[in-house]
Symmetry: C2
Subunit: 303 residues, 2 copies
Amino acid sequence: MKHFSDVLADAVQAKGSLVCAGLDPDLGQMPPEFVAARVGGGGEPAAAACIERYCGEIIAAVAPFAAVVKPQAAFFEQYGAAGWAALRAVVHCAHEHGLPVIVDAKRGDISSTGRAYARALFGGAALPGGGTGAGLGADAVTVSPYLGDDSVTPFSEYCGAGKGVFVLTRTSNPGAARLQERDLDGRPLYLRVADLIAELGREWVGEHGYSDVGAVAGATAPAALEAVRAALPNAFLLVPGYGVQGGRAEDLAGIVAGDAGGFVVNASRSIMYAWRVKGGDHARAAAAAAEEMRDMLAGVGRR
Amino acid sequence: MKHFSDVLADAVQAKGSLVCAGLDPDLGQMPPEFVAARVGGGGEPAAAACIERYCGEIIAAVAPFAAVVKPQAAFFEQYGAAGWAALRAVVHCAHEHGLPVIVDAKRGDISSTGRAYARALFGGAALPGGGTGAGLGADAVTVSPYLGDDSVTPFSEYCGAGKGVFVLTRTSNPGAARLQERDLDGRPLYLRVADLIAELGREWVGEHGYSDVGAVAGATAPAALEAVRAALPNAFLLVPGYGVQGGRAEDLAGIVAGDAGGFVVNASRSIMYAWRVKGGDHARAAAAAAEEMRDMLAGVGRR
């Protein structure tokens, strides 16, 4: 079974891109005529059909320029069962375009509950009469570490089956400093989490030398981002907070590691809704935004 | 709009019960003939129909003895869209039996994503053509605090609309000590979180004197549980880890607060799958287990 970290490293090299295209479908940000055209039956099924279609067009548009895509589970869940079905369809669509998928769900729970979340995201739920459910078919997921190591292992156990995990360390939001940056017995909480990631990731290292257990670390706190890299020299980092949230390309030079950069940078709204700034067709605007971002990051990744 | 904390306090008083009946539907723990009878079309819809039916029977059985129910989202999500629909149906079923519902989802995210999670759980997603989605219809939810205060506020903002929030503090799992019990600038991490809960809950206090922003604190660490109570004198506590996980009724005396006890104790497997120990019909066994638990806790709550 190919390691997730190798799938991601190969994608970065093949595309020459460190771009992770975030999929945060929001009806209010889409062209009004796009949303209106799909009202159809109305209600949640109409909303779900609309976000599935929009995400599908964005995926097709950015596929040449992005290494990976990251749908945000919340934006689908808000439309109930129809939204969940749309999320599964979006994962499938990305796979058809050859893109690996990180489902951003920030789950975290223990024991049988943690395992049920892992099955929801990766597949494997027992069915009556035998067989197992497909789950969302994610290649990797984001995980929240508050409950401790036994809330990460239900997910990291899937690394043997080619799956990946990104554990939150120093996130990109203003409130992150409230707990994550404070000193936990002599080392900031987010670096205690990095130590936990290092431990859990040690046994899951692919051919490129990267671990399948990676970290989420925001571009908005460059010093923290470099500290996470120092604690995790061979982890893949998923870096949000670039662009709209204020992170800059030059702050990423210090986290380059290994033969494929060792990180991907997420941008969601600045790609998906680039039409709002650039004008014109939303898919073409998204493609142009993803291409620009690829080029802006290209110099960093090669350093 | 009635406060969630008042709904819960009234339920505790009306039932004379501190029992929170957890709903963790697991086909492997149900009577095999119950599961076999519902294979029907097979696949995820059959699994979802089975867990919806089982949960419905448990809800009807425990309704006289439980103050509140707590479905665990993971066990539904693992069956995809059909599972999500089953979760919504289970929330509705509990409401029909007059039971408030805490959806245990341990979500936590910021900004527009946090708000989308809140809409998924409480309702309010924008629909094309106007109107809003129903969401799961939860009365309260569990929230993970790792991302900081701005990951709790998207949920606590719903307190004005009669909703409640339980933020994780010291959880009941063995790995909880790994981060939560460690010293964060001179105070354990879980009590830093309690401080945050106190801040966010201050403006949402009901007629009974309890805040709508409560805490999850495990019965397996009695000293930590009492410390959470000391930090949050008027919060409702949601206490897991009782029974199967080792927590004891006598450890709860120190957390009694206000006119309705100020806490509810969750039991999931020991009620839902009581038939495995007691034998006989699963619904009757669940009712008997919930009644026993109510009686065992009754002395504690009155102290």
